[in-house]
C-alpha cells in the first residue's frame, strides 16, 4: 500500500536539482533578450526606456520565450525549496543574513536583498525590513496575528481565495515552516547559508486550493543532472522524511516500516502510521499525515 505526502506541488519540499520554467512579467518594458539566449540569474532581461526599472532573469538558463511588453520565459536548472505559506509576488536578489548579535531594532537592513531570518520573525523586524527596502523575506515562521496586522489582511479569507490582494503585498514573504514559534529546518537553513550572497528568485504566491506554494529557486550550473517531476511523494519504506507536527516535530528520519493497521497516536486518534528511525537513533511510530518526504 502507498501513502502520499501531497502538500507540495512538485512532490517534495526540497528538490536538489530540477528543470523548471518561470515567467518574468515585463509589462511595458523593453525586452533585452531573445529566445535561445543564455542568461545569468542576475542579468537584466528587460528594462524601462529610462532605466528606472529593471527586471532580472532570477534564474540561470535559456530564454524560451520573449514577448515584448509582456513577459520573458526562462528555463533553467535550479535547486527548489518550497515554503509553507507566503505573501506577495516574486522578487530576485542576493540572499542576505543579518549580522549575529545585533539588535533587530538597530541592525542595518540589506536593501534590495532577499533577507533570510531562520527563526520566528518579530513584527519589528518585519516592519523594518519592508520599510527598509528589502527585495524579499524568507523566515522560518511568524505570529499569525502579527502577519495579519502588517498585511492588513484576513489571511483565512486570502487563502480561501475570497480576497485577491495577496500578491499585492509590497514585498514577497516566505515562511518556510508556517505560523507560530518555529525554527527553520536544518537542511534548508544550511542550503541558504551556503548560498549567502548568491542571487535567488522567490515567489510568495500561495493558493492552497490549487496547491500553489511559495518557492525559492537557487540557480545551478548549466546542464546539471536533474530529477524528473513531480518527485515521488510516496511514503514508502526507505524514504527519508521530516516530521512537521506532533511529538517529534522537526525531526528527520527514515521510514523503516509502514503499519498495516491504523495505530493510536499520542492523543488517541487512529491514524495510518509508520515506524521511523530518527537521525538520533530513536525508533518511533508517527502518523503519516505529519510526514514530508525529503528523499
Amino acid at each position: 500500500m502507498t501513502a502520499w505526502a501531497l502538500d507540495y506541488p512538485l512532490g517534495r519540499p526540497l528538490l536538489p536539482a530540477a528543470q523548471l520554467t518561470r515567467r518574468r512579467p515585463t509589462p511595458g518594458l523593453t525586452v533585452l533578450v531573445q529566445p535561445g539566449d543564455r542568461v545569468r540569474a542576475d542579468q537584466a532581461v528587460a528594462e524601462a526606456p529610462d532605466r528606472s526599472r529593471i527586471v532580472l532573469a532570477g534564474m540561470a538558463g535559456r530564454v524560451r520565450e520573449a514577448l515584448p511588453g509582456r513577459e520573458v520565459s526562462i528555463e533553467g536548472q535550479v535547486m527548489y525549496l518550497a515554503g509553507t505559506l507566503g505573501l506577495g509576488g516574486s522578487a530576485v536578489g542576493p540572499l542576505a543574513f543579518l549580522p549575529r548579535g545585533e539588535s533587530i531594532a538597530m541592525v542595518a537592513i540589506p536593501t534590495s536583498a532577499i533577507l533570510v531570518y531562520p527563526q520566528r520573525i518579530p513584527l519589528t523586524l518585519l516592519q523594518r525590513a519592508i520599510s527598509g527596502g528589502v527585495g524579499g523575506i524568507i523566515a522560518a515562521s511568524v505570529s499569525g496575528l502579527e502577519l495579519e496586522a502588517i498585511s492588513r489582511l484576513d489571511l483565512t479569507a486570502l487563502y480561501d481565495g475570497l480576497i485577491p490582494e495577496g500578491d499585492r503585498f509590497p514585498v514577497p514573504v516566505i515562511l518556510t515552516e508556517g505560523l507560530g514559534e518555529r525554527v527553520m529546518d536544518a537542511i534548508m537553513q544550511r542550503i541558504l547559508t551556503q548560498r549567502e550572497g548568491e542571487y535567488a528568485m522567490i515567489s510568495g504566491l500561495t493558493d492552497p486550493r490549487r496547491n500553489i506554494r511559495p518557492e525559492i529557486l537557487l540557480s545551478l550550473p548549466p546542464d546539471s543532472p536533474v530529477m524528473s517531476l513531480p518527485a515521488d511523494p510516496a511514503l514508502v519504506v526507505g524514504a527519508r522524511v521530516r516530521v512537521v507536527a506532533g511529538e517529534y516535530r522537526d525531526a528527520h528520519g527514515q521510514i523503516v516500516q509502514l503499519f498495516t493497521h491504523r495505530q493510536r497516536d499520542q492523543i488517541g486518534l487512529l491514524t495510518e502510521s509508520a515506524r521511523i528511525r530518527m537521525e538520533n537513533g530513536l525508533m518511533c511510530a508517527t502518523p503519516l499525515h505529519t510526514l514530508e518526504r525529503l528523499a
Binding site: 500500500m1 517531476l229 486518534l269
Partner: protein, 608 residues
Amino acid sequence: MARAVEGAESLARSEAGQGERQAATPRSLLLIDCGSVFTKMALVGIVDNQYRLLARTQVPTTVAPPFPDLLIGVREGCQQIEALTGRRMVSSEEILTPEQDDGSGVDTIALTTSVGGPLRLLTTGPGREALAGLLYKSLSGLFAQPEALPVAPAEVAQDDPAWEQLVAQLRPLRPHAIVVIGAPSTGIRGAGSIADHAQSVARWLDVLRAPREGEEGRLSALPVVFSGTTDDGMTLASTLRSATAMVHTVEQLTPTTIGPLSRALNALYDGVVLRETPGYTRLRSLAGPATATITSLAGVARFLAHHYKMNVAAVDVGASSTTLAGATTNGDFLPALFPQGGVGPGAGYILRAVGAPSILRWLAIEADENIVREHVLTRILRRRMIPTTQLELELEYALAREAIRLALHGPGSRLSGLHPVDVLLATGGTLTNTPHPAHTALILLDAMQPHGITSLVLDSGRIATMLGSVAAVAPDVAAQMTENDAMPSLLGTAVSVTGRPADDQPAVRAFLEYEDGKKDSIEVAAGALARLAVPHGRRALLSLYPAPGVDVGLGPGQQARASEPVEGGALGLIIDARGRPLELPTATLERMARLREWRTSLGIGGAR
C-alpha cells in the same frame, strides 16, 4: 425488508436512467466517495446470497498538483482494495468493469462526491422573497450555496464607489449561475417587474464575467436558470440574449412544482461544478453521474427514519463542508448544510462566521485568538493534517460544534425545528474517529441540543455517505448493506431535559430496570451531565421522574416510562440536565472547569 427497499427506491427515482445503464442485479459494487480531502472507497459483493462489505479503504483525493486527476487517487484506492482482497480491480490503469469471469473487477460503480465545493448560486427575481420557502425546498438535498443577488442600479456613474464595493463583495463568491425566480402567480405581488430584474441580471452578468485586474482573458458568461411563466421567460431571455450563452427556463415555482427547478440545478451541479474537477469526466463515464454527499446522506436518513419509524438526523462534519440530513417518520426530508465550512480546509469559513470567541468557549485548555487563527490557517494550508496535540484536538471539536450549529441554524434549514430527534447519527471521519466515544456524544449534544430522549448512534463502518448513492443504482443492495454491515452502533441513549427545579432538589431521577430484575438509578442536578453505564448486550427499561417544572420531553413535570428498553452501548444512559439552550459560564476559569466536569462525567479521562 420490503420497507427498506421502498425507502431506498425513493432516492433511486431521482436518478432515473442511471440504474438502467448499470447492471440490473450487480454481483459486485465499488462505492466511491470523493471528499475534498480524502476519497473513501468500499467493495461490496455477494456472500451467502447477501450483499456484504468486503473491503474499505481511504486515499487522498487527487485534484491538485502533483496529482491533478481524481482518477489517480481512485486507482490507488483500487490497488489498496486489491491488496486487501486479492481481487484484481484495475487493468491498464482503468477500473475493470463489469465483473469478469475470474471474479476480477466490479459490475457497478457508485460515486458520491463533495469535491469541487457547492454549486454557488446568486438568486434574484421578482418572486425571490415571496417564494423563498419554495426556493429553499427546491435546493433541499442539493449541494448548493444560494446567495441573494442585489438589484443592480439602472444607471451607475463610472467609478461609483457604492457600486464598485457591491461588485467587490460579490466577485469573490465565484458564482456558478444566477437563478431568477419569477413573480408568484397567486395574487402575492412580486418585488419589481421581470423587465427590471432582467436589466439588473444583464448588468451583473456583464460585470461578473469581466476580467479582474491581473486575470487574463474574459471569463465565460454565467448560465441563468429562470423559474416562472413562459412570457416572463421570453422577456428575460430577450434582454439577456447578448449577455449570456444560456438561459434555462423551468416551470413556475409552486408547492407542487418544486421538482423542475431542483432537477435543473442538479444538472447544473454536474455540468458546471463537477466537470471542472480534473478527472471527473472520465470517472463519470465509468460510474455515471455523481451523487452529492448531502443527497446520499439524505437517502440514508430517509431509509433509517422509514425503517425504524423514528425521526432521524444524520450529522457529517467534513473537512470542507458540514452536512445534516433529517428525516421524519412521515417522510419529510429536512436538510441543513454549511456548504463551505468544515474542520479542515473549510475551517476559515467557520471562524469568519462565528469569530474566535465562539471557538474558544468550547476549550477546556487556555488559548487565545492567535492560537485559534494559527490553527485554522494551518488547517487551510495543510489539507490532510489532523490534530496531533490535545489543544489541536480541542480546537477541532470546537470547530465541529460551531460547524454543526451553523448548518442547523443556517438559511433554509428546516432541521432546527425537528422535535423529537429520536436518532442522532454521527458519520464522517471527524465524528467517528475520536479518542473516546464520549467526545462524539458531547459534540452532538452541545451542537444539536436535542430535547427529550435521543439515541446517539455512530456510523462505525463509515459508509453511511456512500449508501445513498448505492440506493440510486441498486436499492436492494443498499437495504441489505444497511442490515448487514452499516447498521450504526449505539453510543448511548441521551435524555435531555429543560427547565429548572424550584429548589435544590435534583432535576431528574432516572431508574433502569434490567431484564434480570436488577435495578439501577441516578439523580442528576440541574446544570449537570451524568452517565449510567448500560453494558453492551444488556437491555433495561427506563423510567424518568423529573422535578416540577423540569421537562424530559413530555411536558414540565411529566414522568416518562420508555415503551422500548434502553439498549447497552459504549456510553449507556446519558442524562443531560444542562438545560436548553445550553449556556456556558462567561468567566473563563469557571467555564473551563465546567467543560472538564462534563467530560469527566461521561468518562473522558484525558481532559485536562
